[in-house]
Amino acid sequence: MNIHVEARSITKRFGPTTALNGAGLSIAEGETHALVGRNGAGKSTLVSILTGLQRPDEGEVLFSGTPAPALADRDAWRRRVACVYQKSTIIPNLTVTENLFLHRQTTGRIINWRALRAKARELLDTYEVDVDGERLAGELSVEQRQLVEIARALSFGARFIILDEPTARLDGPAIERLFVRMRALKAQGVTMMYISHHLEEVYEICQSVTVFRDARHIMTRPVADLPHQELVDAMTGEATAAYQARSRTPGSGVVLAASGLSLAGRYEGVDLEVRSGEVIGLAGSASSGKIGLAETLVGLRRPDAGTVTVNGTQPKPGDVPAFLAAGLGFVPEDRHHEGFVPLLSVGENATIPIAGKLGRFGVISPARRRARAVQMIKDLDIKTEGPEQPVGDLSGGNAQKVVFARALVDEPAALVVMNPTAGVDVKAKQALLGAVEDAAERGAGAVVVSDELDDLRICDRVLVMFHGRIVKDVPRGWTDHELVAVMEGIEE
């Protein structure tokens, strides 16, 4: 078998982080090869190196045994490799025709639109894309846009195509249609590299699979004789020794409940109940809709249907202040974006939700705020020079503690934390998880939304979401394999 594409011991660093550490893979001609790994494993970096958007610090890329062209020669790259990126490269205000022939509308000086439309028609017909070339690309559905991108990518004559998480934003039937198309391309001898978080798709469409973990190549194996267990094993690696989760007995009062919650394109038909003193986990892949659901539970999003009940009241959907007033505290998904105001002090950030209680007639008493902030700094063990230090100066872990302080300062009855330990070190991680358990011991009900299995270990039960639905309620005592298998949709 001929090797079509080969990446040899690629190393790529971005500042202090190593995105790829001597990793590589080789793909045989005509095969559909999966590349899997958890977030941060280095998949996206490999894609940008294989498509010539970035230069590796070390290592080389070979196409059919010959070295890759120079980075500046975009056309040469596009004749060798086509890519449908995660992020759309369609220009919404231009027609489909023009998007197909972007920057190659004509070889002469003047664009002959009629001829171009005919060429576009021909290209769309060749790849059986049922889209009107005169429509604006922005009006197309995600699936149609993707098909246009595939047709454009292949029109350069490349026989190797990379599909970077193409199914992340497609629904079931559209995924099936994509697979039909991929099989047809394979039958024509096209080589493909397929990236997905959904392992069952890998088993369905790919012949072999390469696993990356922590910027390294872990293994490459034919899919046919690879047990699910082993694949999941390779992806997760050894579970790092960790935090000892405490046991507790949940109370009987429901502090946070959702019923019949639906939001188009995110999740549908979600019911859940969190009792006082209970910690529940919400797990699932990036496209599972768990973040969308969590954001609805805290009032950041307005659902299409269904209700959220916080501590016995139903706050107005999409009205965050109403949710906070009802007794909810939350840690948003992206702390840099929604978590804190970097130029304001630790004390001010931590006490924003209770500003009204720190004084009278809209005037905040600095002494009372300071006292409260000092208390929170002590409770959460925030490493800071004092309540006056701007949060922007703190390390990631300590900044996240300030966000926790903000969520906890009003002693909420219900607590929702999203990706609580993203980008923080081991010690801070344990302190943050401890803070969630402390809150539960005080009688709060907590929801932990996370990609990290370690975060979910503190939960009394974990609700697993898949393609927008809660598919399983896993009680405490699960193993990594079990949970990952459910998250990736291998096991029903």
């Binding site: 958007l53 975009r74 056309d75 992020k87 759309s88 490269t89 369609i90 220009i91 919404p92 205000n93 231009l94 027609t95 023009e98 972007l102 920057h103 190659r104 509308q105 004509t106 000086r109 003047i110 664009i111 639109w113 009629r114 439309r117 009107d132 005169e134």
Partner: protein, 327 residues
């Protein structure tokens, strides 16, 4: 053209021409309100008055479509011709007394415009600064570069060559109208039928995708800024010829009208959207309204209220039609 694609084509054409009914309506209302309005003399007058500012609208439309911003164009309208004139006229006429030949005044003026555009592009593209703030600062700097040497005085003794284009008549119409018409026709053609022209839309629509498609984004944008400066300088030449002098306030306040014309003509402030033809209809609407208000004796002090309202109404219409929230 096949019958199959014809209806859709006509629709896309219409998108540029949403203001045409407004222009027709203005002509009808104007004819009813004032018998003098719909005469060839008055309409020629409207066009001539709008010729200079329309070039700045053309420049701004190109820059906006590319997804950038330029506030400094209005300052260039006054400063480029003023400095060019001062370089060639003797000290007795308010110049620097360098003794450069008077024939150089127009090339010098355009060169100054190009240099300003190049400097804007340099700051915005090389240092990745915000186009809004850079050109706001540049507007102030350029205005000062005119006020400083002239000490705020109006330049009266001008070389013939700089007065010619803005004051002469070709084939029965003011030359300024011909120049604007030719440049707009060129702009419409270039943006519809050339690769460089189309790349402006690609860059304004999604610069990363444009880069991935092999478009040299920075180079194209730089060219657009330079072209914008040249067009603003040319607008200054036409305005100088029309008025016969260069006042210290030449071009002041134009930028608001320029943005108004571009935006009501369908050019998006977010980039990637709009056409030169649309921008042209925007200029015409503003010109006709201005003329009508003046003919009906509406005080010049009150006219800004009307212009402001027109902009707001156009924004609301485009928001309702476009359906997307504006930044």
């Amino acid at each position: 053209m096949t019958t199959l694609t014809a209806p859709r084509l006509r629709l896309t054409r219409f998108r540029d021409l949403t203001l045409v009914p407004v222009i027709v309506l203005l002509l009808i209302v104007g004819a009813i309100l004032d018998p003098f309005f719909l005469t060839a003399g008055n309409l020629t007058n409207v066009l001539q008055q709008q010729a200079a500012i329309s070039l700045v609208v053309l420049a701004e439309a190109l820059i906006l479509i590319s997804g950038k911003f330029d506030l400094s164009l209005e300052a260039t309208v006054g400063m480029a011709p003023a400095i060019a004139v001062m370089l060639v006229v003797p000290a007795s006429a308010g110049g620097f007394g360098l003794g450069l030949p008077a024939a150089l005044v127009i090339p010098l003026c355009l060169l100054i415009g190009a240099a300003i555009g190049a400097f804007n592009g340099f700051l915005i593209l090389r240092f990745q600064l915000s186009a809004f703030v850079v050109t706001l600062a540049m507007m102030i700097v350029i205005g000062g570069l005119q006020l400083g040497p002239t000490e705020g005085k109006t330049l009266f003794k001008l070389p013939e060559s700089i007065l010619y284009l803005g004051s002469t008549t070709w084939l029965g119409l003011p030359a300024a109208i011909w120049i604007a018409a030719i440049l707009f026709a060129g702009g419409i053609f270039a943006l519809a039928y050339t690769r460089v022209g189309r790349s402006l839309y690609a860059i304004g629509g999604n610069a990363d995708a444009a880069r991935a498609a092999g478009i040299r984004v920075d180079r194209v944008l730089w060219g657009v800024f330079i072209l914008g400066g040249v067009l603003a300088a040319l607008a200054g030449i036409l305005e100088t010829g029309r008025l016969g002098a260069i006042g210290s306030g030449q071009g002041d306040g134009w930028i608001f009208m320029v943005f108004a014309a571009a935006v009501i003509g369908g050019v998006s402030m977010d980039g990637g959207k709009g056409t030169i033809l649309g921008a042209l209809t925007g200029v015409l609407v503003i010109g006709l309204v201005q003329n009508l208000l003046t003919l009906k004796g509406v005080s010049g002090f009150w006219q800004p209220v009307v212009y402001g309202l027109i902009i707001l109404i156009a924004l609301i219409i485009s928001r309702v039609a476009g359906g997307k929230a504006q930044d």
